[in-house]
């Protein structure tokens, strides 16, 4: 694998690390399987792309993307909390609705960003390195800032309330935590982060596309699970760092697999490989425990 390809994998890994952190908030912290992200990623991309081509500052465009994504998350959580629709279904409904919304935002299925100024432009002038170094470095900076802010939040009184909501909602409300509001806030935060990833993605690859969100949830989940499998989850800080590490690892492994000609995998097999990887990661720990137990039982019976 060439250096450029390797750095490319790191770059995508870092970018989807933001998605993984968003998925971590919904799936792991709030125990809320949220598929809205498949719609909020292209929403962030579409929002920022449209604003940038209309001359808005790319940083402001990213901020608007975050707000748009958070709004989408809020709708999902509201459908669940206030209208009582099952969380999974509520998120699918928002995801489907966002397909139309995203088409409306762009007015067409895609929007090119070629030659436009992006959030990476000022850094390209500042950092004296080839372009394939600059993007991953900027992304690394962004993800470090997100990690610090997220961990500060999760260890705050409010963040602790959110974590309690996901683990034991009955206890949380007995302690005075408004569990409904916590869910809305958490899902909004999660989708805001995913939309930011979408906005950055569009600016890196030079455009937004209506179908760029397909399977984002699985990729995010794969990163979270891979992070848990390879990294300690003892503290919340380690768990969040694990998400990012998992995301990078996932991209590097995929890049290696695609590069190894003898396996015969091609780019179009990516989603299938991802799905298989998630299934394996979810079932292997259980199977391993069973095997270990069987061995212990056998030993005890001897």
């Amino acid at each position: 694998m060439s250096l450029i390809a390797f750095l490319g994998a790191i770059e995508t890994g870092l970018l989807f690390g933001i998605v993984a952190l968003g998925v971590f908030i919904s799936f792991r912290i709030l125990d809320f399987p949220d598929l809205t992200v498949d719609g909020s990623l292209p929403m962030g991309a579409a929002t920022s792309a449209m604003l940038i081509v209309n001359g808005v500052n790319p940083f402001v465009a990213c901020l608007c993307a975050i707000i748009a994504g958070a709004g989408a998350g809020l709708v999902t959580a509201w459908l669940n909390v206030r209208l009582g629709i099952l969380h999974l279904l509520a998120s699918i409904l928002t995801m489907i609705a966002l397909y139309s919304v995203n088409l409306r935002i762009m007015g067409k299925p895609n929007q090119a960003l070629l030659g436009e100024e992006t959030v990476f432009t000022p850094f390209e002038a500042m950092i004296d390195l080839p372009y394939y170094w600059v993007t991953p470095l900027v992304l690394l900076g962004i993800i470090l800032i997100i990690l610090v802010l997220l961990n500060l939040f999760l260890s705050s009184e409010l963040g602790l309330g959110m974590r309690a909501t996901g683990v034991n909602a009955r206890m949380a409300s007995a302690q005075g935590i408004k569990t409904g509001k916590m869910k809305m806030m958490g899902i909004a935060l999660s989708n805001g982060m995913v939309a930011l990833a979408g906005a950055l993605f569009a600016q890196i690859q030079g455009g937004a596309d209506i179908s760029m969100g397909v399977g984002v949830i699985v990729v995010g989940l794969a990163a979270v699970i891979l992070g848990e499998a390879t990294f300690s989850t003892r503290t919340i800080i380690l768990a969040t760092v694990g998400c990012v590490v998992g995301s990078i690892l996932y991209r590097v492994v995929v890049a290696l697999a695609l590069n190894a000609d003898f396996i015969g995998l091609q780019a179009q097999d990516l989603k299938l490989v991802t799905a298989v990887l998630v299934v394996l990661a979810m079932t292997l720990p259980g199977a391993r425990q069973k095997m270990a137990k069987r061995k212990l039982v056998k030993g005890a019976l001897k």
Partner: protein
């Protein structure tokens, strides 16, 4: 002063499994009184406790805490006035959070939660001091996950959590029922100590008549959603479990007689 007036609660109304859990229950608990509540299965013990906590909404009647009508307050709003310990040791704490994080959560009860750090150094010192009283050595394990503790340890921490912040009433929902006898005795002893120390207004629901008479200053017996026996002071002092059992049977017998009268 806690006042529950003419409380009616019906579960699954209009269906075959309709259950009138509370039928016009009246109960008032003056400040600093420790009341024990007994009754057979389905008498409405847990229901009245959930009504006071705000978890079960009443179909008729009112709940007042210190003259404030809290009938329509949801659980989270009422938590500023009500602290509780659940029957299930798993229910009262968050197992994937650490002991200190659980305590910090409890310390937020009745206050506004913001972006400030939840487990500060000052708070850690308070936690350490409060948890030391248990004599379980947990003060050295504050950073351990709650899930690593045994049921009894978790219930003891739950008690500390409930009494960390001021409250108008402490609700104990058969909080020793899931524990072995020795651990149950320890948790009860701890309850006595914390209640006396803080002069807490307390309502303890229990299955055991022995427990009901041994603890607190007043015993209330529920049957079919109403208070059928209410003893305190001298009358209660001389009471034995047999007396209580006898009274219980008498009450039940009268009920049956009433039904016969109605049917006849």
């Amino acid at each position: 002063m806690i006042e529950a007036k003419d409380i009616h609660v019906v579960f699954n109304p209009g269906t075959a499994i309709e259950n009138k859990a509370l039928r016009g229950l009246n109960l008032s608990i003056p400040q600093s009184q420790f009341v024990t509540v007994i009754g057979s299965n389905g008498a409405g013990k847990s229901t009245i406790l959930n009504v006071l906590a705000g978890e079960t909404r009443v179909d008729a009647g009112s709940v007042k805490i210190d003259e404030e009508n809290v009938t329509d307050w949801a659980t989270d709003r009422r938590s500023s006035l009500v602290a509780r310990v659940f029957q299930d040791p798993m229910a009262g704490t968050c197992e994937s959070l650490t002991i200190e994080e659980n305590l910090a959560l409890a310390m937020g009860r009745g206050t506004k939660r913001g972006f400030g750090h939840a487990v500060t150094t000052e708070r850690k010192e308070i936690f350490c001091e409060k948890i030391k009283v248990l004599g379980l050595g947990l003060e050295n394990r504050l950073e351990d996950k709650m899930g690593l503790l045994s049921g009894g340890q978790r219930q003891a921490v739950s008690l500390v959590m409930a009494t960390l912040n001021p409250m108008k009433i402490l609700l104990l929902d058969e909080h020793t029922a899931a524990l072995d006898p020795k651990t149950a005795a320890f948790v009860l002893e701890l309850t006595e100590m914390l209640v006396q120390e803080g002069q807490l207004t307390t309502m303890m629901v229990t299955h055991s008549m022995r427990q009901a008479l041994d603890h607190g200053q007043r015993t209330v017996m529920l049957h079919e959603g109403r208070v059928v026996l209410d003893v305190e002071g001298d009358q209660r002092k001389g009471m034995k479990v047999e007396d209580l059992l006898h009274m219980f049977e008498k009450v039940r017998g009268q009920e049956i007689d009433d039904d016969k009268l109605l049917l006849g």
